[in-house]
Amino acid sequence: MENIKIGHHISGKFNNELEDMRNKVLTMGGLVEQQIKRAVTAFSTADLEMAEQVIKLDDQVDTLEIAIDHECMQILALRQPAAFDLRLLVTAIKIVNELERVGDLAERIAKMAIQLSETGSNNRHEHYFELVHMADLVENMLHGALNVFARMNVEDVTLIMDMDENVDREYASIIRQLITRMMEDQRNITRMLDVLWVARALERIGDRACNICEHLVYMVKGEDVRHLTQAELKMPKKQNLSN
């Protein structure tokens, strides 16, 4: 259905409640984006202060998660929404869960940066450039997904989900290089495992961005596209259980 808008309810208060909830989700998304960016910078530049900021941001993200969940439950209980409004609320609950987990992954990257700095083993290394590139990709994915949520338009969603293949390729490439490094010099193993963990966290963020895209397709079109392959997703219309 086209031209879905949050407003235009007979109840202006209901419009405001939905708009407020949506703004909070976007704010939370913005904070999580900042967390990823700063966590990767902190890791790659051994910036302890920035790593601390990421950890502090996570408190705000957690607070927003709880606030949005409560708002959604309150709207569900009091307004008994249907159709798009219902899908919007259910999707918001799922998206904030994904965002909170992304925030946790960013926080762990930041903690890793602090830990490596404290042990003095976080010297600049060529693998960090690839990590930064991978981080750019997943940031773009998350940013694209949040844009879809803001515009309520899922035209670009397959493009965003396609980017996950690039992320997976980067991840595989980093693993190969790390293994080579570890085989070259066993003293590298501990540090390489830490880098591997960061790469893994970024790969998971890409997966979570894909999950958000799937939830958004349900929100806008009412079609449940979870667990479909990319090829199935691009098919014009798939009959699924939600229908």
Binding site: M1, H8, H9, Q80, A82, A83, R87, L241, S242
Partner: protein, 276 residues
Amino acid sequence: MTTQDIATQSMNLNSVLTKQAKGRPNEISVTVENLNLFYGQQQALYSVNMEIPKKMVTAYIGPSGCGKSTLLCCINRMNDLVDNVTIEGKVLLENDDIYHKSVDVSDLRRRIGMVFQKPNPFPKSIFENVAYGLRIQGVNDKQILNETVEHALRSAALWDEMKDRLNDNALGISGGQQQRLVIARAIAIEPEVLLLDEPASALDPISTLKIEELINELKEKYTIVIVTHNMQQAARVSDHTAFMYMGKLIEMSTTRKLFTNPQNKLTEDYISGRYG
């Protein structure tokens, strides 16, 4: 767990999900074909086409004046009583055209019972209210009447409350009990279809829930069509929902689909309280 166990479990799950999605086999009880209805010059229904599945609950929703009660009344020819009504098109019960000149309207209304918004018990005893339909059919055997009244009251979830006061006047019981009594009166003559025109709109929340629970039980035996202004009620009790607007059937689908993913913008706007 072996791979075979997992595969079996997966097949069972698929079978459960398919059953949930499809419901019962799609036998049709009432078919409405190209139905137009005019009150004088004023057209109230426009080319309505609809199939009402057997032994399921179908709800009509829509704003006031959209024609849902008019359509409901067409199904047992209640509009025959209105002056200046012109009806075009067909309404088929099973495969019989209910507007055919050979149809006996009394017999039709035995096959298609109706319950209205306001409970309308007769000023008689509770027993006589339920037995009324049988008596006008000429049944006077006391044992048959007793058994039928008890069965109907049990089906309407009213037996336990009424069994010791069957001779009390029906006008002395509560509104919720009166409405269930009227439903008992309707099902005492074993209709095929039960039409409910806002059956719970005048009742308190507890009585409303009892009626809804009753509807859920009655659909095992009867085809039920319900008109309601309460969309949550339609969502709770019905298997299929039809949205009507300005005399036209805009959309009809399974209730689950209509309330989560309607295909028509008018439906979306109405059920989500938008003004478009």
